[in-house]
Symmetry: C2
Subunit: 495 residues, 2 copies
């Protein structure tokens, strides 16, 4: 309770801060909790054998009775990938989100056998839904690298909290669905208690170019390619995929889609109308045998050098159906995420060594970010005019830069907090403060389930030193009755 005897609003991000990944945010008022997104992160190199990283869910397990539902901003893995793991541990009565995200989530829940554990409800732009007694959530169309993405305005008893979700400001989006800036401005005019805003590119000056900026550059590459074309990008970058499919039609090439996630996203996006193209644009893998090289574009996963993705396998000559041949033009229409740079450039080198012409790199104009840069952040602050500001979705440096920008735009320093996962941001109508912490850390998942810290430390040590086992039998007096059998694994024996 604050001094006005009105309860406070608590905002507790369990993931997504000091990192890009596993975005999961708790909004709590009195005895009601709603969740905004529940994402996963991918393991770093020292997390041996780990497939997936989740936020610590202790706080949610302990407060499961308060959970009224979840709102989902968009269908990226760092926003919906954690939902099945949450549902295994506690109930989420209802999940509201955009059609594409809900379609992708539906697949995930079916695959995990969890489809009956919650209700999925799709929302349209400007739709308002009620969760519990305290939360009215309005979905505001935004622009991002995946189609059908939203910012949200959460009406609470203390005022309106706007969470941008992931956004860029793209005035010429590929699907024609522009950012609903009017709605943001309307809230700014009426008064916004607090803004939580995407900080991914807070270190990048200027504006992020529109997605359409890649079109002429990819068009030129399509026009100049003489043999087969292969293009790799993020499967979830629906707009980019859309451009590639349009160019395939323009340049009279058939499209062979390779990689499960790419097939899956294209199917859903076509089904929902975010991608429009004729059925006969697509050909199955086996058609590669009969189509001429200049009639084909192969659209694959693997733009980040992921070990099991199609493009990586192709580069290693262990893809079951596709081998590189001289004359192939291979396009990396994605920038490597910092931790993936080495894997990506090694993949490029392997492809070049097999005779492919590989087109990659920032100077080619074949990739733009899905996240706004500094001038876009300023526009967001200018439109919403929030009283309090919390930079989210970014590493610490990015949060600090974003907070500095808000101060340059007139938000007092004491009205901004730079927070970490697990921090309890407590809002009254007059104040913002960090009011403590809930358990934050991470939970690691490998093929067998959740992996604890001690196990990870043991794996790291095994990796560095190897293991020696000595087995022998002794009699009751402790005398050896068999010669000891010594086994070494991962140990250096030639000194």
């Amino acid at each position: 309770m604050n001094k006005n005897d009105k309860p406070t609003l608590k905002i507790i991000p369990l993931g997504g801060l000091h990192e890009i990944g596993k975005n999961t945010c708790v909004f709590e008022y009195e005895d009601e909790i709603i969740l905004l997104d529940a994402g996963l992160a991918f393991p770093t190199d020292e997390m041996h054998g780990i497939n997936i990283v989740l936020p610590d869910m202790t706080y949610l397990r302990e407060n499961r009775h308060k959970i009224k539902g979840m709102i989902v901003t968009h269908g990226h893995e760092d926003h919906i990938g954690g939902i099945p793991y949450h549902l295994k541990q506690f109930d989420i009565p209802v999940i509201y989100g955009p059609r594409l995200a809900m379609a992708l989530l539906n697949d995930k829940l079916e695959e995990a056998g969890l489809r009956d554990r919650t209700i999925l409800k799709t929302v349209a732009p400007r739709e308002i839904v009620r969760l519990g007694q305290s939360f009215l959530v309005e979905f505001i169309r935004n622009t991002h690298s995946i189609a059908d993405s939203f910012s949200v305005a959460i009406n609470t008893p203390l005022g309106v909290v706007i969470h941008t979700g992931d956004f860029k400001i793209d005035h010429t989006p590929i699907d024609g669905e522009t950012y609903d800036l009017q709605k943001l401005a309307e809230h700014g005019e009426k008064g916004v208690l607090c803004l939580l805003s995407d900080s991914t590119n807070a270190e990048v000056p200027g504006h992020t170019p529109p997605e359409s900026a890649v079109y002429p550059n990819l068009d030129r590459i399509f026009a100049q390619a003489e043999g087969r074309l292969m293009v790799t990008t993020f499967a979830s970058s629906v707009h980019r995929v859309n451009i590639i499919l349009q160019l395939a039609q323009k340049h009279r090439r058939k499209v062979v889609v390779v990689g499960r996630s790419m097939l899956n996203v294209i199917a859903h996006a076509r089904n929902l109308g975010y991608i429009k193209c004729p059925d006969d644009l697509f050909e199955p893998l086996k058609a590669l045998n009969r189509l001429a090289d200049e009639q084909v574009v192969i659209l694959t996963t693997g733009s980040q050098g992921e070990p099991l993705a199609a493009m990586t396998r192709i580069s290693r000559k262990d893809h079951r159906h596709i081998r590189v041949k001289p004359g192939d033009t291979i396009v990396f229409s994605a920038n490597p995420i910092p931790g993936n740079t080495i894997a990506v450039v090694n993949t490029i080198d392997r492809l070049m060594m097999q005779g492919a012409k590989v087109i990659y790199g920032k100077d080619k104009g074949i990739h733009v970010s899905g996240h706004g840069a500094q001038e876009d952040h300023k526009l967001m602050l200018a439109l919403t005019k929030p009283k309090f500001f919390v930079p989210v979705h970014g590493e610490h440096r990015m949060l600090v830069k974003h907070a500095e920008m808000s101060q340059a735009m007139g938000i007092p320093a004491e009205n901004t907090v730079v927070i970490n996962n697990g921090d309890i941001v407590e809002l009254t109508e007059e104040s913002i403060r960090i009011a403590g912490q809930v358990p934050s850390g991470i939970e690691l998942v490998d093929s067998a389930g959740i992996v604890h810290d001690t196990v990870m430390k043991e794996r790291q040590q095994l990796a560095e030193d190897g293991v020696v086992t000595v087995a022998t039998a002794v009699d009751w007096l402790g005398k050896l009755i068999t010669p000891p059998a010594i086994h070494l694994r991962g140990v250096v024996t030639t000194v």
Copy 2:
């Protein structure tokens, strides 16, 4: 023998191609071999427990009787770090190189107890030395991030081969020692059989800015810092260290040097006159207690987030003497090498979270490369006008780009080879070709010695799966006589 019955010249790089690291190159004519540099590389993340990576030395072990000596271009680890390991396996009768590299090498050999295994001879610019009957090597001053660096012109019975070593073209070097372009041009005029040229920045358009470009930007940071200053850069970047020391004097700060390699390089560079500054500029670590914050600059290792380096330890709060405090200004005067990006940004985040103002990033103008970019490569080709061209010192993409540039400048495609480690480049007066391979691979060194492939694979598997040991005693009939003892390490037990 070629058709003129004249023996061929063989150039066999054992390392440094398809990578940046462990540069080691063999020149062979009849029964004589000389080596140019012998470097090491640092392990990638999946090389568990490995400290150092060396090229496969099989070819040299088998041809040890032919080795007449080694020439060293400059004192970077990727050029001299492997020499002690070579000397453990075979004799190198004499090593010629610049004074600074020989001073650093001398330390290495003393530390390894190998000082009596070879003769170290220092060379001056334009000095010519004979190795065996077939090789006359001329040292040509060049400009690079370390002081006292050379290109070489190797006179062979077939003609002159120029190896650029690592270079940028800096017309205003910090130590006044400009690139000896006249000597390169003189060789170009007389005729160069083959050029081997540094490809590190072959993907970067334009010229690399001079080292002096960082001066005004660092100067401004020094002028604006109100509390302590900490600056981290590569210890071997002698010119950068020189600038930092000059600025410390200008801004009346004492310098506390932290990190063994930084202390070592500064000592040698001052000793040889590459860095000139008064003794009383330096203060020991313990002086931090009595000096005012605004009177100090701490110069440290750790610009790449190396786990054991001083700046990394400081960021983790486990440095024995230095803790970050609010008001500190910390400058990263180095760009992260791609594989180190995550380690560097995590270090920066940790420093910022402790209240330091951290200055980093490409847009600050506080780092320039020590390697030339595309226009510098073109100038090198224009000055030396080689008949044959072999791009070296770079990953495959960079070598391909460099080869393409040479073709744009009129060198016929058949006069260029893009090679890999272990390839035998065979030169006659009229031709260049890849005439086979020698064993190439890598040799890994951990604290116990050389580590073989199978051991590395076992370590990787242990890292991903952990290990289960079951120990029990059985009697002669195979009946259990003790209950089995089961030990798990790195294994998930909660499914």
